[in-house]
Every structure is written in structure tokens, then in C-alpha cells.
């Protein structure tokens, strides 16, 4: 279980980006985080990925606890790639082909049969026609699929995904989301920031709504049909009006 208790993050003495966040991401589950832009969703994801140091709070990753504020004399045990993340900006290495981007981390881990495993993902995500290109020679949608493949090759137990379907067409989104559901069945805990409410409705085990620096509402996908707070109701109305 990836659990977070009373997590607060801010820059210096400014008002915290978010405060008092509690959440649990279980293996074999999909948690979807929704909310307006600029409310700290990506920062929360970076904290969950242990890339930022929150001011206070506890992140418990299975049997490993990360308590903040972090004592200066305490050794940091990196949780990666047991816990991994795919960011909106993707961060593919520009000097390597897309294939090399996917294979470099697994080869360094000494994973056997990496090429066969890649072939499986190439088929699943339809990467065959561009996998040997460099990142700048591929479209954003193609790069999104490769970034996801790079993370999945590492066989993580928890995967955090930040808007990874933003540049995909409807068919590709459907493919990726179907694959995520399959991953859930492989005992992986998935945390996804998305604006795709339809996916949240059909696949999410838990939906979190974040606004103004806190988790305002949480529950099953039912909260998207019957919101309990005015804030979520207003957010859903805006989205409904826009679509």
C-alpha cells in the first residue's frame, strides 16, 4: 500500500501548495485524481514519487516509511523503480532513440529478455512504426506511449501517471486505458491525474477531487454522478458545459 498522511508541501514561507493530504493507493487498484489546473495535482504526484520533500507528513510505501520533515542525518532509501512515474512533459532522453530510451534502464538493471518484453509493449501500444526514431522525430502522442512503455518495462508495483493521454486520439486513449485496467489485474497500484472523466467513471476504484490545495472530495466513481460538495459540483458543471 502507498499511504500518505497529513502531507503538506509549500515553497518557503508562502502559503502551502497543498496541506493535510491523506490518501491510500492499494495494489490492484486505480486511483484517479481530478481537479482544476493549478491546484497542486502535479506537485502532489511529485511528492508521492518522493521527488520533492514535503514540509510535514508521512509517506508509507509498503514497509518503508518516509516521515517529514526529513532528518538531516537520515539516509534516503530510493523507492524507484518499485514506485515509478510518467510525467506530463515525458522527459525522454533526446540523445537516445525511443527504443534505447525504453531499454536503457532495464538493461542497467540486468533484466533478462528485455527485448522480448519490449516487443510485447510495442505490439500493445502500436509503437512499431516509430520505435527507432529519436524523441524529436516522434509526435507527442507517440512519445507519451513510449514514456509509458519505459515505465512499464521496469515492472513497478506502483505507477504514478500525470496526464499521459493528453495528446492521444480517442482510439489510442481507449487502448492505453484498457492496458491500464489490465495492469491493475497484474497487482499494480495506479495513480492517474487526468481530465478524462469518462475513464474515471468506468475504471477508477477511487476518485479524488483536489481544489484549493486540499482533497475536497473522495469516493468511488459515484461521486462524479452525485457530487457531495458544491466545489466538485461546480467543477463538473464547468466540464459538462465545455464538452
Amino acid at each position: 500500500m502507498l499511504s500518505v498522511r497529513n502531507l503538506t508541501f509549500g515553497y518557503g514561507t508562502e502559503r502551502p501548495v497543498f496541506a493535510g493530504v491523506d490518501l491510500d493507493i492499494a495494489p490492484r487498484s486505480i486511483t484517479v485524481l481530478i481537479g482544476p489546473s493549478g491546484t497542486g495535482k502535479t506537485t502532489l504526484l511529485r511528492c508521492l514519487a518522493l521527488l520533492e520533500k514535503p514540509q510535514t507528513g508521512l509517506i508509507q510505501l509498503d514497509d518503508q516509511a518516509y516521515a517529514y520533515p526529513w532528518p538531516a542525518d537520515r539516509t534516503f532509501v530510493p523507492p524507484w523503480p518499485h514506485l515509478t512515474a510518467v510525467f506530463q512533459q515525458l522527459f525522454l532522453w533526446p540523445h537516445l532513440t525511443l527504443r534505447e530510451n525504453v531499454l536503457l534502464p532495464v538493461r542497467l538493471k540486468g533484466t533478462a529478455h528485455a527485448d522480448e518484453e519490449l516487443d510485447e509493449l510495442v505490439q500493445a501500444f502500436d509503437l512499431g512504426s516509430f520505435i527507432d526514431r529519436y524523441p524529436n522525430e516522434a509526435s507527442l502522442g507517440q512519445r507519451q506511449r513510449v514514456a509509458l512503455a519505459r515505465a512499464l518495462m521496469l515492472k513497478p508495483r506502483y505507477i504514478l501517471l500525470d496526464e499521459i493521454t493528453s495528446a492521444l486520439d480517442v482510439e489510442q486513449v481507449a487502448n492505453i486505458l484498457a492496458y491500464l485496467k489490465e495492469l491493475r489485474s497484474r497487482d499494480i497500484g495506479i495513480f492517474l491525474i487526468t481530465h478524462l472523466l469518462s475513464f474515471a467513471r468506468h475504471a477508477a476504484d477511487q476518485v479524488l477531487f483536489m481544489a484549493d490545495g486540499s482533497i475536497v472530495e473522495r469516493g468511488t466513481s459515484e461521486i462524479l454522478r452525485a457530487p457531495q460538495t458544491e466545489r466538485l459540483g461546480a467543477f463538473l458543471s464547468v466540464i459538462a458545459a465545455a464538452s
Binding site: 521527488l51 512515474a85 512533459q89 522527459f91 536503457l104 542497467l108
Partner: protein, 248 residues
Amino acid sequence: MTVERTVRVLLSSLVCSLPSANSRDRRLSVWTILLTYHVAFLEGLKVTLALCAITWGVGLVSGIGLGTLGAHAPVTWGRFSRGAAFVFSSIPALVILFWLHYPAQAAFELVINPFYTAALALTLINTFAVGEMVREAVSDFPRQYITAGQVCGMRGRDIVRYVQLPILFRQLLPGLMVQQVAMLHASLFASLISVEEIFRVAQRINSTIYRPVEIYTALALFFLVVCLPINLFAAYLKKRYTRDTSER
């Protein structure tokens, strides 16, 4: 002298003799000069290349070290690197050479072989120039590529080896090459503190036969010969390791 005339004089100096005040030297072309004085030129070239080998080798190694230190300790080493790079790039190399050759040695009551004085001056200039290039490149290295390596479970040294170094190398290569060619040109100043490098040899020959156009054209040929492999090496590295990474 018009441009056309300058070109004509240079070209004609390569293939035939020019009118000279001295009738004995009437038949001296660049080729004849090269043939006649090749031993002296080669001796001078040897000294120039030795000077450059020290300047390039020590300057690159210490510059890369200083730049890396400067990027990781911006308040101490970083400020030192920036300040020193500013001072050494602002003051002409010639002045630094003179300071190190005359007042510095007088102040410390030392007598140092001018070759080593020149090597020290040029190495310092190269070190701080390379150091600043490296410091800036390392400081401005896109953090997201390191983050990607971290979340993929790569160890710190693997991220440096497989991600940071290749990207930095590609980024720094053109600037470093230009800097090393600039140091080759700056080695000419060593002649002014009596280092017997190729420019001083050319000056000596010129003081004997007074054929400046032909002699300095011959000198230019030597520099072209030295620069050619550097340029070919740079082109090879560029082709092998760099490519356009701009988004399409």
C-alpha cells in the same frame, strides 16, 4: 591596397617570386622558403605543438574539473570560476604573458624557462575558459532528464554516465573545439617572451631575408596543416555524437 590586389599578391606569392629590393632573394616563393627553411619551421612547429599539447591537455582536464566543482558548489568554486574566467578573458593573453614573465618572476626572484611561463599563462587562460563553459552547461543541465533516470531506478553514476555526460558532451563539443583553436592562435604570443615557437622562427627568417608576405603565408600553411586534423576530428565527433534535437 585593394582586396583584389591583396589576393593577387597572396596567390602569386604561393607560386612565384615577387619583386624584391634584394636581388639575391628575387626567386623566393613560399615553396622555396618552405623548402629552404623547413628544418627551422619544423623545429618551431614542434615547440608550438608542445605548447599546445600542455595548454590543451592540462587546460581541458583542469577546466572540466573546475567547471564541475563550480556547478556543484556555486557559492565558492562557482564564484571563483566565474570571476577568474572574467578576468582571464578580459585581459589580453599578451599582458598575462608579460606579467608572468617579468614582474611575477622578479617579485619572486625566479627565473623560469619562457616555454614554461608561456605554457602556464596559456593553460590558465584555457582552464578558466573551459571551466566556465563546463560550469554553465552543468548548472543549466535540464533537471528533468535526471529525474527521468531516478524514477527509472537508475543509480546516480549510471545517470551521469549514460544521460548527463553524453548530453553535455554533445552540447559542449563545438565550443570546446573553437576554444582550443583559439589557444593554438594565442600560442603565437609566446614568441614575444622569446619562446622559439613557429611564429618566432618565421620572424627570425623574415629578419634575414625580408619576405614577410611569403613567410607569413608559409606560416599560415603550417597552421592550416595543424588545424585540418582538428577540424576533421571535430567534424567526425559532430557527425558521430551530435544531431539536431529540436522538436518537429
